[in-house]
């Protein structure tokens, strides 16, 4: 009897129920604070898909210094990251890996499509190995056009993402 009650699934249900209650109680007062934390601590995955990675590197260079926004580009493992910046072309070979990286990241996670290639395929509209945009693979939060986008544009895109996070619910 007790064993039936206290099995892992029940426990998980209990935990999530408790979490729900807690979240409901805290959403108003703490939601702001937690979202604020998420806004200023976006750690991007180190996933380079194509040439836009050059400009992504420039974003964290001293001139543009993404660390001002709490964007640390020092994370090796995708398990600690919140943000994928899809840095350009996603080829057919890369697509499953991109999806895998997205899947393996912990919630909450955000996606920025950087560059014309990531948005629509860009230059490679007729290439045999390039996907026309990444919407079909991962849900995209912000589109940053350009080929490659200027670092300023990417920072602007990140600021848009921050707006979006601020407006979102914490769970």
């Amino acid at each position: 009897m007790i064993k039936d009650l206290v099995n892992p699934t029940n426990f998980n249900v209990l935990v999530s129920k408790l979490g729900d209650v807690l979240v409901k109680a805290l959403d108003e007062p703490l939601g702001y604070a937690i979202n604020w934390g998420r806004v200023w601590s976006l750690w991007p995955v180190h996933l380079e898909t194509a040439c836009c990675s050059v400009e992504f590197g420039a974003v964290s260079s001293p001139r543009y210094d993404a660390e001002r926004f709490g964007i640390l580009e020092a994370f090796g493992s995708l398990r600690q990251c919140d943000l994928i910046v899809v840095q350009g072309t996603v080829t057919r070979k890369m697509a499953p890996r991109l999806r895998m990286v997205y899947d393996q990241m912990p919630e909450p996670k955000y996606v920025i499509a950087m560059g014309a290639c990531a948005i629509t395929g860009g230059l490679y509209l007729d290439s045999y190995n390039v996907l026309p945009g990444i919407d079909s693979i991962v849900p995209v939060d912000v589109y940053v056009p350009g080929c490659p986008p200027r670092p300023e544009t990417l920072i602007q895109g990140t600021m848009l993402l921050q707006e979006k996070i601020k407006r979102s619910k914490i769970k």
Partner: protein
């Protein structure tokens, strides 16, 4: 408290605060993990997520493989020389309260250990260690 045996004597009370701090560590750790489990975003079921991370690749082979660095010998050496260095502390504390001649055996101890360490390092420096 027993009259004959002062268990909560000086020694034990000296060490108790270390346990306090250990407890504070747990007090800081457990609630934050529990809280984060409660607050964390509900996971959507996703079979891939719980696979071990392997650079966006579907993992191949076991995670805990039967793997051995070439530097096993250093661990063996550590076990022995760890003992040695703590013996040295027992000597170091008493250095000024024992007669000078009494240092000689320690010099002998050091000499033997140093020779052993030299030979062991020579052995370990060779690459064929498993």
């Amino acid at each position: 408290m027993s009259a004959t045996f002062n268990l909560a004597g000086e020694t034990a009370t000296q060490f108790l605060p270390i346990l306090y701090l250990f407890g504070f560590g747990i007090l800081a750790g457990v609630p934050s993990i529990v809280l984060s489990r409660l607050l964390m975003t509900r996971r959507r079921y996703n079979p891939v997520k719980f696979l071990p991370m392997e650079c966006g690749q579907v993992p191949s082979g076991e995670g805990r493989s039967h793997f051995m660095m070439q530097y096993y010998s250093y661990i063996l050496m550590f076990v022995v020389f760890d003992v040695m260095s703590i013996f040295l502390y027992a000597w170091g504390v008493t250095f000024f309260s024992i007669p000078r001649e009494a240092t000689l055996p320690m010099i002998g101890f050091l000499g033997v250990m140093f020779a052993a360490m030299g030979y062991a390092l020579f052995l370990a420096g060779r690459k064929g260690i498993w």
